[in-house]
Symmetry: C2
DNA sequence: CCCTGTGAACCTGTTCACAGCG
DNA sequence: CGCTGTGAACAGGTTCACAGGG
């Protein structure tokens, strides 16, 4: 445990993968796993797995491996998903609707409170079991429910304005699906998912062999 | 130009961002941009931008900056998007449907030929202007159209089987939205988008301040 | 003896700083 | 003079290799 230093970003990214994997193993009734096996299933090296897990405690058993249940608990705690986060989705277009229906968020401890849109034909309806509110109600909802996380699924042209508004309301984290780079206050965490860019990366890999 | 070595992955990831940004500038009628300005808009350093662009040619003009049109052309060429790629989507659930309707793919040179699903109530219909075929027709479609790229948007439990099938049909690149890690032949490029993990990363950043 | 935890060596990508060109 | 291109210095993350515990 070298818990003075902050955990490096590439390590944190892998922690999500470890968690996903060990949750899967737990559902199969497994109780222990070695760094070697965990590494192989994710195409890492065993030393990397051990180093990564050593950032937040040493509960591996020499000669045995890691006990899965404590590992899950520790990973969730580090990642902050040992509690439920309320999330709002801004933009109820195709992508927004898909995200509202996506079951995986809830399973990981994220509760989607509702969505916001400006289109009158969407406002007031429900998508799945989640209501769509008028965008003008965003400050009110965020403040009364103390929402910390928002998902932005609006067209690129609208994204920066939406994000400015979110920041003013005191949001702490934004997952942006719009294909544009955002300017925010430094204390707001931003994650970016660019679907077209992801395909583009594959395209690159295919032309070079 | 140091074109003997392969371009490092983190550089390639940024190339997509540079391209997105300069395409945006071109639409505004801009014709030149300096590494400094490009860097600021993406929150990078100017030296990083220059080093990145130097991997595939030096067409920056000292004292002036980069000419935007040739830069776009070069970036598209490197990324392989100076041509159109046919893509199929496997899984016509909520996420699959959203991806089928997503305009950004076409804009970047990806043409979605169609989707595959096993649900009889989906097969035979159209989503947007894209047909949904029975999953059993996958080999036929991939082979006759020589499709190289597939997007996987099926439940995690089904993903590995789908991917095995895709590999057998000779697919070259897979963008996987299922929350599971895949085993494939080494010559198949795999990109991973894990929506829940992306939120989880934000969650981490929020608990540590 | 197997498997963890970890210093040390290594390697790769980033930043710095400046020579050189338009 | 401004801005690119790039070697050199630096920083960080990964791999190696092994000491130590069950």
């Amino acid at each position: 445990m070298k818990n003075a230093q902050p955990i490096p970003a590439p390590v944190v990214a892998r922690l999500s993968l470890y968690l996903r994997q060990v949750e899967h193993l737990a559902r199969q009734g497994r109780t222990k796993i070695s760094s070697r096996e965990l590494a192989q299933s994710l195409q890492f090296t065993d030393a990397k797995v051990r180093k990564d897990l050593a950032w937040f405690g040493h509960f591996g058993l020499p000669g045995v491996g890691y006990r899965i249940d404590p590992l899950i608990e520790a990973l969730r705690h580090v990642l902050g998903t040992d509690r439920t986060w309320d999330v709002v989705v801004v933009g109820a277009g195709d992508l927004g609707r898909a995200l509202l229906r996506y079951r995986g968020f809830r399973r990981k401890g994220f509760r989607v409170l509702g969505a916001f849109d400006v289109a009158p034909n969407k406002v007031g309806k429900k998508i799945g079991d989640v209501p769509v509110w008028n965008f003008s109600q965003l400050p009110e909802v965020i403040r009364t429910h103390k929402v910390k996380l928002a998902v932005v699924a609006v067209p690129a042209e609208a994204a920066q304005a939406v994000v400015d508004k979110l920041c003013k309301c005191g949001i702490k984290g934004i997952l942006n699906f719009a294909a544009t780079s955002l300017q925010t206050a430094p204390h707001v965490a931003v994650g970016q998912v660019d679907l077209a860019a992801s395909l583009e990366q594959l395209s690159f890999q295919m032309v070079r062999k």
